[in-house]
Amino acid sequence: MSNSNLFLKSGFLRAPLQNGVGRFVPQLQRIVFKFCKTHGASRGMRDFIEQDLLDFAKQNPNIVVYMKPRRHRSPVIVAEYLNGDRFWMSMHNKTHDEITKWVEVMRTQQGDIAATRLRKLQYTDHPSIQGPWTPFTFKDPELNVASLPDSKYGANDRLPMSATEKLRLMFEQQKLNESDIKTAE
């Protein structure tokens, strides 16, 4: 995330109130359409109100729809969500289609999610399923019956390959190659 997003409210992707575990509660609680009855900038909004608003209200009885005509002012939609978020959006010069799409976005999102900086794209209550690590977590069962000290377990196997060992391997490789070469006889 870039520096310019640092002042955004941060959060994780979470369903509010375990939504959907019990029953599903649509999160948009009310929506206010503010528009002008005569101004050209509200043309799309007026079309939406004339053609789609009644169906929208009928299909979503859980949303309270308010209309607020304001003379010669820019059209605006304000969506209010159950988690207290208030999503304000200017609809100045937006067409009927665009407004339909934005209203659908407001209806289906769970809050003002664009105003949240996601800390991660996944979330879990239980980051580990095996519990905290202990020295015994991945212990080799062979060690239970071993009698220590044992050169097998005491050997240092973490050193880098020595030059002698490297030379020896090269010599072995050379011998193998020589045996492959066929002569004319």
Binding site: P61, L82, P135
Partner: protein, 322 residues
């Protein structure tokens, strides 16, 4: 030499063409100090004022209450629901106003509904948890119930059901006590309008589901797990034997001991800690989880029990070797 002479002017040209990027100040220098001054003056006058949502021009209480019921998929009686949303402080405030204006309209507050609702929630959650966690002791279930029905949880639920703006109270924003109380009153109102079973499902879907993704053992702190475990096992006639089965880094800061608990030479649980005593206690905790059927890998709690389960009297403790 001729080559370098050819390149040098070329280099100069490149340097001239490439613009030096400077971060431009889009926001004027006076903006920040002005905002700070405005904020200071606002603070001096007693902080930012939030107007109650129900004083806005675009507010219709009847529509809000209708949508509230539809949102939760429940049928409420309008008058009862309105009563459930009326707080005592609002009634007092209205009576004072009415006295001044010499009129008298009776208003009912949600005290009775809240009491009914609270009693129902407590009884139902207790019975439900006893059914869903059959091996968990009654004390533990009571402790979970207390946590689920405390003010903090209920106010959180209430807030996310959208009661904050609808509540009729003297103050705004309302405090947690009023939020929780309203939720109880809504349950009480639902009890009156839809009956016990529907209300039970409502409580199940909104209160009990708060346990989703939680570790139920954390709601019940056990002070002395070792003596509790031995007590339980003594009733079954079983003796338990702790054994030190591993130690690493003795006499260092990072010492780690591992203790296993054995019944009839079979290990039932193990725990680790920085001393042998801690390791034993952790092992006992693990064993208790096994006894109560609330291990880390337990099946998720069933949130879909239909109806009101019948309370069962006897709790059975079982223990098995793994």
């Amino acid at each position: 030499m001729a080559l370098t002479r050819g390149i040098v002017p070329f280099c100069f040209k490149v340097i001239k063409v490439v613009p030096i990027t400077l971060q431009t100040h889009n926001i004027h220098r006076w903006v920040a100090p002005t905002l700070m001054e405005l904020k200071r003056r606002e603070k001096k006058l007693g902080g930012k004022k939030t107007n109650p949502r129900n004083t806005f021009a675009e507010w219709n209480l009847e529509a809000e209450l209708y949508a509230f019921g539809k949102r939760l998929n429940e049928e409420f009686n309008y008058d009862t629901l309105l009563q459930a949303f009326t707080d005592r402080s609002y009634v007092v405030q209205e009576e004072m106003k009415q006295k001044e204006m010499a009129i008298d309209i009776n208003l009912k507050d949600n005290k009775e509904l809240a009491e009914q609702g609270e009693q129902f929630i407590k009884e139902y959650v207790q019975v439900y948890l006893e059914t869903v966690l059959p091996k968990f002791p009654v004390d533990g279930v009571t402790s979970i119930t207390k946590n689920l029905t405390n003010e903090e949880t209920l106010s959180h639920i209430s807030l996310h059901l959208g009661t904050k703006d609808i509540i009729l109270a003297a103050e705004y924003p309302v405090d947690n006590y009023i939020l929780a109380n309203t939720f109880k009153a809504i349950v009480g109102a639902l009890l009156q309008s839809s009956g016990k079973e529907r209300t039970a499902h409502f409580v199940r879907d909104f209160v009990i589901t708060q346990l989703q993704g939680q570790d139920v053992n954390e709601y019940w702190p056990i002070d002395d797990p070792w003596s509790m475990l031995t007590e339980i096992l003594r009733k079954d006639g079983v003796t338990i034997e702790p054994r030190l089965i591993g130690d690493v880094g003795k006499n260092t800061l990072l010492a780690c001991y591992r203790v296993g608990l054995y019944i009839n030479k079979k290990m039932i649980s193990s725990g680790f800690g920085e001393t042998a005593a801690t390791a034993k206690e952790m092992a006992a905790r693990e064993a208790l989880k096994k006894v109560f059927g609330t291990e880390d890998h337990m099946k998720p709690i069933n949130f879909q029990l239909e109806g009101i389960p019948k309370p069962n009297e006897n709790n059975i403790y079982q223990i098995s070797a793994s």
